[in-house]
């Protein structure tokens, strides 16, 4: 009876440690993933809503359908696209 009682706190300690390590590593990974995703999001808006910056796109009829979903991102996207920097800089 005593043995399992001892083992459990040990296991939970180990679990805690591993969770911390995992959490530390995962945090960075998820941050990187989110950044990549954000870049892709901007690329996506560029492909579908390029007309907002004067870049003609095809075909406007269906891209209008997507417009409502990207309304909140448009301001940030425009700022990023029009920043006086090389586009490659913004990727990293």
């Amino acid at each position: 009876m005593t043995e399992p009682e001892k083992a459990e706190p040990k296991k939970s300690l180990w679990q805690n440690v591993s969770e911390v390590i995992y959490g530390m590593a995962a945090h960075d990974m998820s941050r990187a993933a989110l950044r990549t995703r954000a870049s892709m999001e901007h690329l996506f808006i560029l492909i579908t809503m390029g007309d907002l910056l004067g870049i003609p796109i095809l075909p406007p009829y269906y891209s209008l359908r997507l417009l409502p979903y990207v309304v909140p991102q448009i301001a940030t996207w425009k700022r990023r696209m029009l920043r006086e920097k090389d586009v490659a800089d913004t990727m990293f």
């Binding site: 990974m29 998820s30 892709m40 809503m49 075909p59 009829y61 269906y62 417009l67």
Partner: protein, 323 residues
Amino acid sequence: MKLKDVLLQHPERRYLMFGGGGGVGKTTFSAATAYWLASQGKKVLVFSVDPQASLTDIFKRDIFGKGPVKIMDNLWAQEIDADSHIRSYQDEIRKKILDMYGLPKVPDEIENYIQAASAEPAMEESAIFDAVVDVVMQGDYDYYIYDLVPLGHALYYLSMAKVYDEWINKITKLREEMREYEEMVSRLRHEKETEQDQILNELLYIKNRINTSAGILTDKTKTGFFFVVIPEAMVINDTKKAAQMFAKFDVPIAGYVVNRVIPHELLQQKIPDYLRNRIAMQDQHMAELRATFGDQVLALVPEMERDVTGLPMIEKLAATMFS
């Protein structure tokens, strides 16, 4: 083979299209075919994808933008009003934005974009293209007859389906990649479910619509595409070129129907040289048509003594077309 036999032997071809240059009789033949099928007891919808539609003129009824209008038993006609379709589409987008974000009014920048996008030259065609999907999917007709736009435009219409398809595939792929990143983050954070990507759903919806429309245009079992020709050098040359291009887009060409043939019986009468020469000219072109398209030439329709408008004239024309 005759046009009548082609239709009777292929009842599974529910989508019939008449294409050809400007003014050769696409609308006339669409109306006559619709009339004939309706009089055979089939439920038929004839509709125009041309922004300058003339079904209103041929049936002598104001049907523009009114949805399917009943012309006679079993026969309905429809002219799509692209402008009002675009307007209600814009309103739908605006309402969605207001509802989604609880805004009192659409932000100026977004409003400008909505208006600018609608002024694009491709917008009208795209709107009609999209409206056709509704027409074809909602109705329960035995036959759908497309009164097409003149050749150049029709090619554009067909190529649009291909362009749309490629565009949508590319962005759907990008969206799916984004989705993978999102799911990865969810896993790392031990979140059970990733939020639904509404854009991806929307893209899949668009894809489905485009595939439906494009699928019909190129489906050999369900669709019959007929070229309307008149025995004149220019028209024949245009048709030959167009036929090759249409074949590239996998359009199932079902045959050729010749319009405005001057009746040979006139030769028995005392007629001026002018008419005699035209008959000789047409004979020459008819020989060329037969040499080029062989038994794909399905019907010869004579030049009528007056305009084909109104049901009695349509009936008369249909009688010779489907003799």
